[in-house]
């Protein structure tokens, strides 16, 4: 529409009147090609935006889960973790100084403290093989690392998507052995 108006104005300025059918047809064809390309780009962008929404939602879920668990690890002082792998889930029993809590890892969600943290991205899932490290450091310190891998299409593509839990504490006695 804008093109037609622009051409009309241009014609008036140049003392030309009207447009031939050929001009209109060629303009229509060119505009149609551009609009089709635009529509393709917009559809692709919409797809990317939807994926990004799911990924953002998963990122927020990940941050919330890690924050909630780490708060407990630090407040209650994690001593060790026991990993119990079952058929469709893995249980991580967190042994604190005075209590225990269980983290349940399933393929599409993690359950902790009565809350579900589900993955919204279609091709994302949690691995049921948990990486657990208990390491003694100097000065009677110990470090516990628990890594829950996130798989994209069955492959762990980046560590930055994984659920990495870590805690550093002081040993009270020598019975806190590795798992």
């Amino acid at each position: 529409m804008i093109i037609f108006i622009a051409m009309q104005i241009w014609g008036l300025i140049m003392n030309k009147r009207g447009m031939t059918i050929l001009e209109i047809l060629v303009s229509l064809v060119i505009v149609s090609i551009i609009v089709l390309l635009l529509i393709r780009t917009i559809l692709a962008l919409e797809g990317i935006n939807n994926s990004k929404d799911y990924a953002s939602s998963d990122e927020i879920g990940r941050a919330t889960l890690i924050k909630n668990i780490e708060k407990d690890l630090m407040d209650k002082q994690l001593v060790k973790a026991d990993i119990q792998k079952e058929d469709k889930q893995t249980k991580i029993v967190l042994n604190f100084r005075d209590s225990k809590k269980t983290l349940i890892v399933e393929s599409k969600k993690i359950v902790y403290d009565g809350l579900d943290y589900s993955l919204e991205s279609n091709n994302a899932s949690y691995s049921l093989d948990i990486n657990y490290v208990y390491e003694k450091l100097e000065d009677n310190c110990y470090v516990i690392n628990i890594d829950i891998l996130v798989l994209i299409g069955g492959v762990n593509t980046t560590v930055n998507d994984d659920i990495n839990l870590t805690f550093m504490g002081l040993e009270e006695n020598s019975d806190n052995n590795t798992n």
Partner: protein, 148 residues
């Protein structure tokens, strides 16, 4: 009576549309790159690791003479090495809190870009910045502190 078709009008319209699309593409690319960087900067897991690194190595007692100083493991009684390996740490820096006017080019493009993204809203004197490396991807996290 006007004959034929003016190429000039079409070229002007195509040029205007192309410039608009290019500007849109440029903005979109910037947004995507910023989002990628946000994932690598101050990842929540790395923030907790940075906290424990700072506490274990007692970095709030590691005094610096310049704006940015890389922590030398050998000066911390061999505590670092095992921790570096466990947490996939590449480097640890102690810096002034406000790095807006500090030249960081000599520390690498990754570090420089991270420093540019830092906010200065808190009232700490110094920061510990930890550079992590996983699968050849560098990520960063920082924690402010004051000397005791």
């Amino acid at each position: 009576m006007r004959q034929g078709f003016a190429l000039l009008e079409t070229m002007i319209v195509v040029t205007v549309l192309s410039v608009s699309l290019l500007m849109l593409y440029g903005t979109f690319t910037d947004m995507v790159n910023n989002n990628k960087n946000n994932i690598l900067y101050d990842n929540v897991s790395n923030i907790y690791k940075t906290y424990f690194v700072k506490e274990y190595l007692e970095l709030d007692k590691y005094y610096i003479d310049s704006d940015i100083e890389e922590v030398d493991c050998r000066s911390i009684d061999n505590k670092c090495d095992r921790l570096f390996s466990l947490y996939n740490i590449e480097k640890i820096y102690i810096t002034k809190y406000d790095l807006r006017n500090v030249d960081t080019k000599e520390y690498g493009a990754g570090f420089s870009n991270y420093v540019k993204s830092l906010s200065n809203k808190d009232s700490y004197q110094y920061r510990v910045i930890v550079e992590y490396k996983n699968d050849n991807i560098y990520s960063y996290a920082n924690m402010g502190f004051n000397y005791e």
